[in-house]
């Protein structure tokens, strides 16, 4: 373990309480796809990274897990922080990872590059955390907003999440990727979208379409 511990910032101030609180929020988000869940008490994450995504990973990962981090945010400080606090393996290729952290929708690789599980073990698929600038449950006043209309288990009739500040092309691409993901059900990846304070869960059972609001 040759790493400079001086570069490692603190993890959870109270690991038991905060990781359980985060776990509860993650469950809530996954049980109600599209519901915007606020995460409190995030750890001191390495600079330039999304604190909610980091605290979800800090909660879920241990030494048996593998993580792929988007090269845009994979600095030595980030790598050292995860290695120290979770002892997980950081893998160079997305295909070998159980968890993946993507810094922006624009750099999202195709879902097929991740492990999608097998018919026998669909649970072995990857979980993706994607950072977005804002998650809103309604369109901002006076702006045309594009978002995701969600249907499926856990969603009463339908629910819409708006993504202000994200280019339409990237949202359309995400929706297309989700459609392909839905076709290989029960295999397929699960997705969380995270902002610095909130998260939204998009499990593989959720059908995603483009929504436009004003």
């Amino acid at each position: 373990m040759a790493q400079d511990l001086l570069q490692v910032s603190d993890g959870f101030a109270n690991p038991v309480i905060e990781s359980q609180r985060t776990f509860r929020a993650v469950l809530e988000a996954l049980a109600h796809p599209g519901k915007i869940v606020t995460l409190h008490g995030n750890p001191q994450t390495p600079p330039g990274t999304c604190p909610t995504a980091a605290s979800i990973l800090l909660t879920l990962l241990d030494s048996d897990c593998s993580l792929w981090i988007d090269p845009a945010i994979l600095t030595p400080a980030v790598k050292g922080w995860f290695t120290f606090h979770t002892a997980c393996t950081i893998v160079p290729e997305p295909g070998g990872a159980q968890f993946a952290w993507i810094s922006d929708l624009s750099v999202l690789p195709a879902f097929s590059t991740f492990c999608c599980g097998t018919d026998r073990y669909p649970d072995s698929s990857a979980t993706l955390l994607i950072n977005v600038p804002v998650l809103a449950d309604g369109p901002l006043v006076g702006e045309e907003a594009v978002g995701l209309r969600l249907e499926g288990p856990g969603v009463p009739s339908s629910r819409t999440v708006y993504l202000p500040g994200v280019d339409f092309a990237y949202i359309a691409r995400f929706v297309a990727l989700r459609a392909a993901n839905h076709e290989i059900f029960p295999c397929g990846v699960d997705v969380y979208m995270t902002t610095p304070e909130t998260i939204v869960g998009l499990p593989r059972t959720t059908r995603v379409d483009i929504a436009r609001g004003r």
């Binding site: 001086l6 490692v8 603190d10 993890g11 690991p15 120290f84």
Partner: protein
Amino acid sequence: MLQASDTASPDTQSSRANWIALLARSPLDLLESNCAFAARFEEHVLRHPETGLMMVQGRAGGSGARFNLGEVTVTRCAVRLEATDATEAVGISYVLGRSRRKAHLAALCDAMLQIPDLYPTLEASLLDPIRQYLAAAADARTARAASTKVDFFTVAREAGPIGASGRDA
């Protein structure tokens, strides 16, 4: 998972590996009496004291094949100390047993020992007393074992060379 190391740690008195080993075997009260030095630092706990199991490996006779001897309970901790003058140090500890307090204090002392202007003070007030304590404990153990020592001796054969008797029979 920690990997066992076959190479002996550098045995100089002042090496970090050496003082970490001393701190891990120190009695708790010696650590308690020295932790006041940490008051001038801001303390960040990187890894809260946590208890786990470690596999101890051994070699028969010190040179045989490696085998798993058994598991021991170990508590570990990591802290970072920051002073106002931007001095900082990260201390770690791996301590046998389940004492979270001891693991925490050992990590604190390791961090403080890495700060050059604190080292001489702590060397005198902490490391020397630990060495004396460990030497005294080893002496006491040796003395206790020595008191049960039995000197066996073999009665020398009084007969002549083997086969000397009966040769003429």
